[in-house]
């Protein structure tokens, strides 16, 4: 086994940056100040703030994947999911929150992709916190303007005769893409199907995985 080298050989190794080494921006200061004031004035408690952050971080694409897998095996559930994701989720004891979510289904004719051009609206209750790229100016501006190029950069190429339908989630609704069920999955059960459903396939930048 190689011994860890000592730092006496004439060059400097940068240390792993701490959170505090990032720049303190105006918005970081404002966010901290607001949180401190809300706690100080008794509007919320520090414990409530912590619990809410923990709750948000506990959400993951596994919730959405359960809904998609059920929709793949049950057509009537799929219809209910398209009409009202929140109510369909409640059937599986999943709390999708108060913001209405619509299911948008990928078919042989239509491929759906979701963006929020104004900010970062996202169905967090079902797929967790949005990835950094979803919040980037590049994704937000380019997805609505040249969706096929953006899809291509995610490795997703669609034929000309498929309509690429961009959903700009700018107001009071959120969207969950129902990806197409992959070929060769007839023998899989609901749990195995859910394993094929990824976060990105529910945003619409990719397809569901094919079975190994």
């Amino acid at each position: 086994m190689k011994e860890h080298h000592h730092h006496d050989h004439g060059h400097h190794h940068p240390k792993q940056p701490d959170i505090e080494d990032q720049p303190i921006t105006y918005y970081k200061v404002m966010t901290e100040a607001l949180a401190e004031l809300l706690v100080e004035k008794g509007v919320i408690t520090a414990g409530e703030l912590r619990a809410q952050m923990e709750e948000q971080n506990s959400r993951s694409p596994a919730f959405g994947a359960k809904l998609i897998a059920r929709a793949w095996i049950d057509d009537s559930f799929k219809s209910r999911l398209i009409a009202d994701v929140n109510a369909a989720a409640a059937e599986l004891d999943i709390d999708a929150g108060d913001i209405p979510i619509r299911g948008v289904e990928n078919t042989d004719d239509v491929h759906n992709i979701v963006v929020c051009t104004l900010c970062s609206c996202y169905p967090r209750s079902l797929i967790g916190l949005p990835p950094d790229w979803y919040k980037s100016r590049a994704y937000r501006s380019r997805t609505v303007r040249e969706p096929r190029r953006v899809l291509g950069e995610f490795g997703t190429t669609l034929p000309e005769d498929v309509e690429v339908r961009v959903h700009d989630s700018t107001a009071d609704l959120r969207f969950l893409v129902i990806p197409k069920r992959p070929d060769g999955t007839d023998g899989l059960d609901e749990v195995q199907l859910a394993d094929l459903v990824t976060r990105d396939s529910m945003i619409g930048v990719s397809m569901a995985k094919t079975p190994a």
Binding site: T117, R145, D168, L173
Partner: protein, 94 residues
């Protein structure tokens, strides 16, 4: 409050640039689309943003646009569309 537009109606997004908190993206202002869904009534976000009650509520629509109509140099498929959620105060009959 009843909705002014129905599914299938052609509408044009107002080409206006008021100050303040607005949920209508710039890129869609002035463009014509078709109502795809009448979603329902929601508190006015332009009022909510300033701590007011958001009343009267506004009807929210999902409006579908042909990408080729929105972007002059759109080079995807002529079938491609975008659906934008827009409040009634931003729509005019086309």
């Amino acid at each position: 409050m009843s909705a002014k537009y129905a599914v299938g109606d052609a509408v044009t997004v107002r080409q206006a640039y008021p100050p303040g908190h607005v949920r209508t993206p710039y890129f869609i202002r002035g463009h014509q689309g078709v109502v795809q869904e009448v979603v329902g009534n929601f508190a006015n976000p332009e009022e909510l943003a300033y701590g007011r009650d958001g009343k009267p509520a506004l009807t929210l629509y999902r409006v579908q646009f042909r990408q080729q109509d929105v972007w002059p140099y759109y080079d995807g498929s002529p079938k491609d569309t975008a659906i934008v959620d827009l409040y009634e105060n931003w729509l005019e009959p086309a």
